[in-house]
């Protein structure tokens, strides 16, 4: 295939000035720090806390590992013993040969058992620790404040729970094997030196050479490997984007430009991979050459020692066995350095998540909000801001009586959503009190508070699963009848029955196979099944077609029946239907009353209403601007 370059694109006749197109495919990831210090006592301590429950397993596997290493060291010695006794000039020693055979059989059986035990235990333990860390983080994230969750991207959290825990897993597994490697390395050195010091010393003198080469090689090779990884993620990202955005690509006729740009990325990927392959392979002849050198030394030096009767030929054979093994530990040990660096960087990020303070906690003597409570909601001089220096609610007081529907109305940023969040104690107020059923929410258990308050959010969020599971959600005790009943009440039953598998239809990601209106209805049904005394509802702003709109307004009516409701209202139909309207502006309550009363007052509400938009969100900013005329009139 012919190679095309992006700069060819510049010759396109579209423009007289030759400059590259404003076009890219595939983007670089915003990389996080991968390598840091290789050892951090605090991080190790934190990781150890997760290993502790399995410390018995760790001890067992370490013991098995050392036994395993021991048999590896022993086998060449048994071979030596057998050979030496077989070729004794004085005549073969049959019993010694039998001894050797028995010893060999025992050694390989122990080797088998130890390898089995150690690999099984290490493998499972490392997996367990990985899953435990992930669970601890997930559980912690269920409790941390919403403001932390709001300002942390989902993708970032996911890379904590997937990528970072994996590098800890890798670290644990490798650490144990490293112990084996070190034991093997020192074992070989010890055995070789003790069998014959000068021969051992000479043979081992090639080891430092490899070590030095590895240390010089490692950072360069790592750079090449990372470059290959990076270009790979770029091409894969570009492909994913082309697939996901294919409709736009085709309708904008960008296929050609994209192909040429992609070719560049794909070619860059090819180049980096070839470079990485060169770095990886260059070690092969070095290791092989050094192995050959060590063997040559053993033959020349060892051979002459044999001839001079200083060692037996069995020693030579045993040394040949050791030489074939002694480069392996050096290779894995030098790699372990990178593994540790990565693990420390990941461990730091993991502990950062685990250490996020839980701001909202049940008091030790928190009370359970009884289902028999009256269902009132009251704000008493509430002042609240996400940043305490910039309050979004200032000294707000109002009361929603049992069974009453109150609409909160006001321009964007007036504090409506914050008020809604405070009822559920997503945040704690800075001053004043929020009371539900006559109790300060801070004196209640969060669990019981949540059970008595149902919330419907502006954006209906559905989970992967069936329609049935979505409507039932956490109320696992809700029967099928109850779920269908709820769907019928909100008018979702009809469209659900038209789905391929009705209530058992699998919803796509975020309910992708349903329209916005349908998702809205499912979320209403979910709130209905939750069967709470108090309903807090944020009306959706996006316009949906009039047919669905009609169904939704009907469903809303059903939902509010017999409940205390606090509604962040956008649509006039909803606002006019409320028992009372609270107009918020700039974090303060400026008007209260029903529609007629507010109209008679001639304040902000009546002005907005008279503009004749069907939804308050439609009012242009300049007309609703609190600093504009509207505000000065109130």
């Amino acid at each position: 295939m012919a190679k095309r370059h992006a700069n060819e694109l510049e010759i396109e006749p579209n423009d007289s000035g030759r400059r590259p197109p404003r076009a890219v495919v595939g983007s670089h990831r915003i990389e996080e720090e991968i390598f840091g210090r290789a050892f951090d006592k605090n991080i190790i301590r934190r990781i150890w806390a997760f290993v502790r429950p399995y410390r018995a397993m760790a001890v067992v596997s370490l013991a098995a590992l050392l036994i395993f290493t021991g048999t590896q060291l022993l086998i060449p010695l048994i071979i030596r013993y057998a050979i030496d006794h077989a070729i004794t000039p004085a005549g073969a020693d049959a019993s010694a040969l039998l001894e050797a055979a028995v010893a060999f059989a025992l050694a390989i059986l122990v080797n088998f058992g130890a390898a089995y035990a150690q690999e099984t235990v290490v493998g499972k333990m490392a997996e367990n620790v990985l899953f435990d860390i992930r669970r601890a983080m997930f559980a912690h994230l269920q409790k941390v404040s919403l403001s932390f969750m709001d300002k942390t991207e989902v993708g970032r959290l996911m890379s904590r729970l997937q990528g970072d825990v994996n590098s800890i897993h890798e670290f644990l597994e490798n650490s144990i094997y490293s112990v084996g490697d070190i034991a093997l390395l020192f074992g070989i050195i010890f055995v070789m030196l003790s069998v014959n010091f000068s021969l051992g010393f000479l043979t081992l003198s090639v080891l430092p050479a490899l070590l030095i080469i590895r240390i010089v090689w490692l950072p360069r090779a790592r750079e090449a490997f990372m470059a290959a990884q990076e270009t790979n993620s770029v091409v894969n990202g570009a492909l994913a984007e082309a697939i996901q955005g294919v409709r736009t690509v085709q309708s904008m006729d960008r296929q050609y430009v994209n192909f040429v740009l992609y070719d560049d990325k794909a070619h860059a990927d090819l180049t980096t991979h070839l470079t990485a392959a060169r770095y990886a392979q260059v070690m092969v002849p070095i290791v092989d050459g050094l192995t050959g050198l060590a063997m040559a030394v053993v033959i020349v030096v060892g051979g002459s020692m044999i001839m001079n009767g200083r060692v037996d030929v069995g020693v030579l054979v045993a040394y040949i066995f050791y030489i074939q093994r002694f480069f392996d530990p050096i290779r894995s040990l030098t790699l372990q350095y990178s593994v540790m660096q990565r693990a420390m960087a990941s461990g730091k990020r993991l502990t950062d998540v685990l250490d996020v303070r839980i701001e909202i906690q049940d008091k030790p003597d928190a009370r359970i909000l009884a289902p028999e409570m009256d269902g009132s909601v009251e704000f008493r001089s509430v002042t609240f801001g996400y940043d305490p220096k910039q309050p979004v609610l200032k000294n707000v007081s109002f009361r929603v009586n049992p069974g009453e529907t109150v609409a909160l109305v006001g321009p964007t940023g007036s504090g409506k959503s914050s008020a809604m969040a405070l009822v559920h104690r997503f945040y704690d107020v800075q001053q004043g009190q929020v009371l539900v059923g006559g109790h300060d929410v801070r004196d209640l258990t969060q669990e019981s508070l949540g059970t008595q308050i149902a919330m419907v959010l502006q954006e209906p969020f559905l989970f992967t699963g069936t329609v049935f599971e979505n409507i039932r959600y956490h109320k696992t005790e809700a029967t099928r009848e109850k779920v269908i009943e709820a769907a019928k009440v909100v008018g979702a039953h009809d469209f659900i029955m038209r789905l391929p598998d009705r209530y058992e239809t699998q919803l796509g990601e975020r309910g992708g196979n349903l329209s916005l209106g349908q998702r809205q209805l499912v979320s209403f049904a979910r709130a209905l099944v939750a069967d709470a005394k108090i309903l807090v509802l944020d009306e959706a702003t996006a316009s949906i077609d009039s047919y669905t709109e009609m169904v939704i307004q009907k469903a809303l009516r059903k939902l509010l029946e017999g409940r205390t409701a606090l509604v962040i209202a956008h649509r006039l139909a909803t606002i006019r239907g409320a028992d009372r309207i609270i107009v918020l502006q700039n974090g303060q309550v400026i008007e209260t009353g029903n529609h007629e009363k507010l109209m008679a007052m001639g304040g902000l509400y009546s002005k907005l209403y008279n503009l004749n938009y069907s939804s308050f969100d439609d009012i242009p900013e300049e007309e609703a601007d609190p600093t504009g005329q509207a505000a000065s009139r109130t």
């Binding site: 099984t120 294919v246 960008r254 794909a266 956490h474």
Partner: protein, 620 residues
């Protein structure tokens, strides 16, 4: 291969590949082999180096054996010790040379094997990318994007690895075991057979284990992705979780998914460990026997100590490669399933493309005509979405299409740029059937502003200029002004250079739609369709965009599909579509006067609350 033969399932599940049988599997492997052979020099270098490396490697035990024997010569007393010592230099240097050369040739073997794989991967990447970009909407409707991405990443990797993990390794292992066996057996048949006795067992176990591990791995990935989804949805929907106090329920959901995955991770260990341990044991048993019987023979004087050394070192050389038989089998199996899936994508027919002899669309008056158009989605049989649609729109006119959800409005929009081809009737632009003109020229002339705006991960500027990457700054800013986006963009820290999209800053639904509108305005199309593209934009902003669009509409045909009737009022003609047919048509006033379906919809929307306000939550 027909496009119908390959549906969603074929790209997704291996069931289809399995059903295809061995003949088909072999042809897949042959096809990959042919792709490899398109790089003949590198293939030759890889295979040639493999052969040399194998021979050098087999020399090493021989040389070692000879050297060991040489150390015994002096004991016999036939030569002096000094001469014997001198003689040791020859095998030692030969050993050093053979070992170093083997390293060099192994390096060449691995490098060229990798290089062939990566070059094939490069070609396949381009082929996939090109195919994906040109396959029609109906293909993309049918095939899940996640599956397609997996295909282009994992399956492509499986094909890439074929040369190094399967083909080269096949040569390597056949030669190493074949020649090695001949050498050993010819030296000493009994010892040779014993030394090789572990080979069949290990070959069998490692093949079975590798195939089993692969199946578990695939399953584990599946379960991990379920776990990932549980976590991701929990974070994305954290407000719902908190609102329902469903933390305990979510923990339970997490625990189920997590336990499921952990079980398989343990199973992986349970399959791997006993098998590798058994393989090692088999190897050592054979080695023990070689040692025992070898020593017996040594005592009997049937073999020399050097020969025994040769056998023992030969075994250690053979140990790792024999274990790799499993990897090789897996390499073939993987290439076969991955290749089948990949080729089924590459062999897809492009159902919507240029007809033979297609000519660029010539725009004269700029008239769009639907003539008795009917349409059913491919593969849905007789479920007709549109029937007998006939209308005409001239330059400067605005046509509005309204109707209940699912009535076929969007489908009409998708037919004009040939996202789908009509199943009956014709669509013409200035008298030219759109199926007879080149796709590129048609899509330049027709722009559709889609409902769900897709943003590419790049700067806002690049996103707006998506259809015209050579545009200067001025038109980009003008387009974004018209779409009421300019001021917002200026407020961003990096302005027009702000990166948006999946990995960039997130925009609200309304902002995304406005960006899509700006993107379309850049194109200056002759026919522009707004497919419910302002639903997430507030009415006031929409008003201002409408005003801009009206200025923009003078030179073109504008088609608007929208819910808010207020935004359609000014259209020259309104088509009311229901159930795939145009049931009413006329201007706003005419349709109101008709007192039909349009009027009913209008009343509903004008006073949505009136009927509700009286009953809803009224004072108790």
């Amino acid at each position: 291969m027909g496009s119908d033969a390959v549906g969603t399932t074929s790209l997704k599940s291996s069931a289809y590949v399995k059903a295809a049988g061995w003949g088909r599997g072999l042809s897949t492997l042959l096809r990959i082999t042919r792709m490899n052979l398109r790089h003949p020099w590198q293939v030759a270098l890889a295979i040639g180096s493999t052969m040399v490396a194998v021979i050098l490697q087999l020399l090493i035990p021989q040389l070692l054996g000879r050297a060991v024997d040489q150390t015994q010569v002096a004991i016999g007393g036939s030569v002096t010790v000094t001469a014997a010592e001198q003689a040791l230099w020859t095998p030692a240097l030969l050993l050093l040379g053979a070992s170093t050369l083997r390293g060099l040739f192994t390096m060449a073997q691995n490098y060229f094997a990798e290089a062939v794989g990566h070059r094939v991967a490069y070609e396949l990447r381009l082929a996939c990318y090109d195919k994906v970009q040109r396959l029609s909407f109906s293909f993309h409707d049918r095939v899940h994007s996640g599956d397609l991405i997996t295909l282009g990443i994992l399956d492509l990797d499986g094909v890439r690895m074929y040369f190094s993990t399967a083909l080269v390794r096949f040569f390597l292992l056949t030669m190493l075991i074949g020649i090695g066996a001949c050498m050993m057996i010819s030296t000493d048949p009994v010892l040779g057979l014993i030394a090789l006795s572990f080979v069949p067992f290990v070959a069998w176990r490692s093949s079975v284990t590798q195939l089993k591990l692969r199946a578990i791995w695939l399953d584990l990935q599946e379960r991990l992705s379920v776990l990932g989804r549980v976590m991701e949805e929990n974070f994305a929907g954290i407000r719902v979780v908190r609102a329902f106090s469903a933390q305990a329920y979510e923990m339970a959901k997490f625990d189920i998914a997590s336990t499921n995955a952990l079980e398989l991770a343990h199973e992986q260990v349970d399959v791997y460990v006993p098998n590798t341990s058994a393989m090692t044991l088999a190897f050592f048993v054979a080695m023990g026997l070689v040692l025992w019987i070898g020593c017996d023979k040594l005592i009997a004087g049937q073999i020399s100590v050097g020969t025994l050394t040769t056998f023992l070192t030969f075994m250690t050389i053979l140990q790792m490669p024999v274990r790799q038989i499993g990897l090789m089998v897996n390499g073939f199996a993987r290439a076969y399933t991955c290749g089948s899936r990949l080729f089924s994508l590459l062999d897809q027919d492009i159902t919507i493309g240029d007809a033979s002899g297609a000519r660029p669309l010539e725009i004269g008056e700029g008239t769009l005509r639907f003539d008795n158009v009917s349409f059913a989605y491919p593969g849905t049989g007789n479920r007709v979405i549109l029937k007998n649609i006939t209308f005409c729109a001239r330059r400067g006119e605005t046509i509005a299409i309204v109707g209940p959800p699912g009535s076929g409005k969007s489908t009409m929009a998708h037919l004009i740029p040939r996202f789908y081809d009509v199943t009956g009737g014709t669509i013409m632009v200035d008298g030219q059937d759109i199926r007879g003109v080149t796709l590129a020229s048609l899509r330049k002339a027709v722009a559709v502003v889609q409902q769900d705006a897709f943003l590419f991960t790049t700067t806002i500027e690049n996103n707006i200029a998506y259809g015209d990457p050579w545009a200067k700054e001025q038109p980009i800013e003008r387009a974004s002004e018209s779409a009421q986006l300019h001021n917002y963009i200026l407020g961003l820290p990096a302005g027009y250079k702000t990166v948006v999209g999946e990995r960039g800053a997130s925009l609200s639904g309304g902002q995304r739609q406005r960006l899509t509108i700006a993107r379309t305005m850049m194109l200056r199309p002759s026919i522009v369709v707004f497919d419910d593209s302002t639903a997430a934009i507030d009415a006031a902003t929409e008003q201002r965009i409408r005003a801009a669009i009206r200025r923009f509409a003078k030179d073109r045909v504008t088609i608007i599909i929208a819910h808010r009737l207020s935004s359609l009022k000014h259209a020259d003609r309104i088509l009311f579509v229901d159930n795939g047919e145009i049931v009413e048509r006329g201007t706003h006033q005419e349709l109101l006067a008709k007192r039909g379906r349009y009027k009913a919809l209008y009343d509903l929307q004008l006073r949505p609350g009136d009927d509700i306000a009286t009953t809803f939550g009224g004072a108790p």
